[in-house]
Amino acid sequence: MIDILKLSVQLYAPELVCVVLMCLLLVAEAMHHEEGTDRTKVYLLATLGLVVTAGLLIMNLGAAPSAAFYNAVVIDSFGTLMKLIMVLGTLGALWLAHSSKDIYSNLKSEFAVMAVGTLIGGMLLASANNMLTLYLGIEILSILSYVMTSLKREDSTSTEAGMKYALYGGLTAGVMLFGMSHIYGMLGSIQFAEIVPKVAELQGADQIFLMASFLLFFAGLGYKISAFPFHMWSPDVYQGAPIPVTAFFAIVPKMAGMAVLIRVSHLFFAGDGALSVSWVGLLHVVAALTMTVGNVTAIGQDSVKRLLAFSSIGHVGMMIMGVVVLNEVGTRAIIYYGMAYLFMTLVAFWITSVLNDTYGTDSQAVFRGLIYRHPVMAIMMSIVLFSLAGMPPFSGFVAKFNILSVVIEKKYYGLAFIAALNSVVGLYYYMKLIKEMVFSKAETTEPVAGFTDSTRVLIVALTIPVVMMGIFWDGLMGLSGGAKLFLQ
């Protein structure tokens, strides 16, 4: 018993480090509570903690997949990679928050605390192996997200966004639980490992009822990754939330949601029974509609934040295509996609954040003529936007390529064509922003104050992976090639 616990703790070390980090951050925050103090030290502490977490995750990567805490969680390289993406995303969002004026300076360390807390939820979700841990993961993720959304306390939109998020989250959590309860009732356990063999045994009406329950269950997951039709909250929340929070939401909860969606899909629907067929069909529809709705709606957006929000819905649609195929290469493609998306999103939000801080708005007009004021920044933004649109030689293209290739390997040509057309739509709105930046003349040529030297260096540094991952992705694919799911 002790041995099992010891082993579990070992495997679970990254999460535990995060928990400790969160506590430490709370203490640190208490020491820096005066108005106007510089919170850099708190951030450095958080960075240190996250780097340690990342290090531990990398060390875990090689380990054989195993369950911990009596099968409550499972540690496998797939989950670990997803967690790694989340940690990196948190790290990025953290420093974005540090430089952003969108987070009130005396709430900066609260952001750090909550970000790490959300990360813990996400990590729990990524390795959830029973319904309870799954539920807890989602709730930790959600509840802290509500708070983060309304972090801009003086701003009514922020509060409204938080409220909507909370209400919507509550409802979907309830619906999901309702579904879970029926699954539990029909299959007799909350442990995935015990449920899975029983799924195949069900017949007739039971099967249909189980599927209905799974659908209710899917509502919870779909809401987390903002898949259609559970995406409706996300533009509002993205718009209302401070930019660093938005950047954070675009990465961490999404990857956590994807992780659990992949795990559930692979566990329950890997065969070719009637249930699997319906599930795959469902995901087909969800993927196609999510992409389409996300991309089409993004066209008319003037707020860049909102544009990126809708575009992230589009990207989620692409990622779901990797789930549809229900095989390992699909997972691998999603992991790569996540990696690529992480850097692209961070750069895009970062530049938006700086401009938003300077002009107080994130409308496309503030990007006008950026090339004449900050050529390097404009080029970086262009690279990232091209990458998001899926242009080679940037990582976004490779991500898209991988996803398309897994779908085509399964011969889902229809889905592939829909994805292809969607990326044309995507290109259209990204290009509009590039057009604004590069083709239009700026009213003024004076530089934007927010682009300090360090910020610029950081942005360039974050863009380098976007390019490099698009060209030298052999090694990275090798890494994610180890993304074995721990399946019973």
Partner: protein, 101 residues
């Protein structure tokens, strides 16, 4: 005789009522209450299944967790609602339409 079916019917009613409340009521606090109803429907299900079908403790424990998490959620939700009230001086849901396309 209280059978599983009775529990399930009740939980179903709770679920539907919760949804109706969420959809139809204008008061945000009421909506939060609707969420509680939905969550309780699920919790009731878990307990009922645990007793009548599966004969293990999973359901009970799950129900406990639901109660705890619901409390946390309600706390956060109410905090945000209060903030909303401070800014808007109303808790009417129709006032929350600032965010749109």
């Amino acid at each position: 005789m209280i059978s599983l079916a009775s529990y399930l019917v009740i939980s179903m009613i709770l679920f539907v009522v919760g949804l109706m409340v969420m959809i139809a009521r204008k008061n945000i606090v009421a909506i939060l209450l609707g969420i509680e109803l939905v969550l309780n429907a699920a919790a009731l299900n878990f307990v009922a299944y645990s007793k009548f079908v599966t004969n293990n403790l999973d359901g009970h424990i799950f129900a406990l967790f639901i109660i705890v998490v619901a409390a946390a959620e309600a706390a956060v939700g109410l905090a945000i609602v209060i903030r909303f009230f401070q800014l808007k001086e109303t808790i009417h849901i129709d006032e929350a339409t600032q965010l749109r396309n």
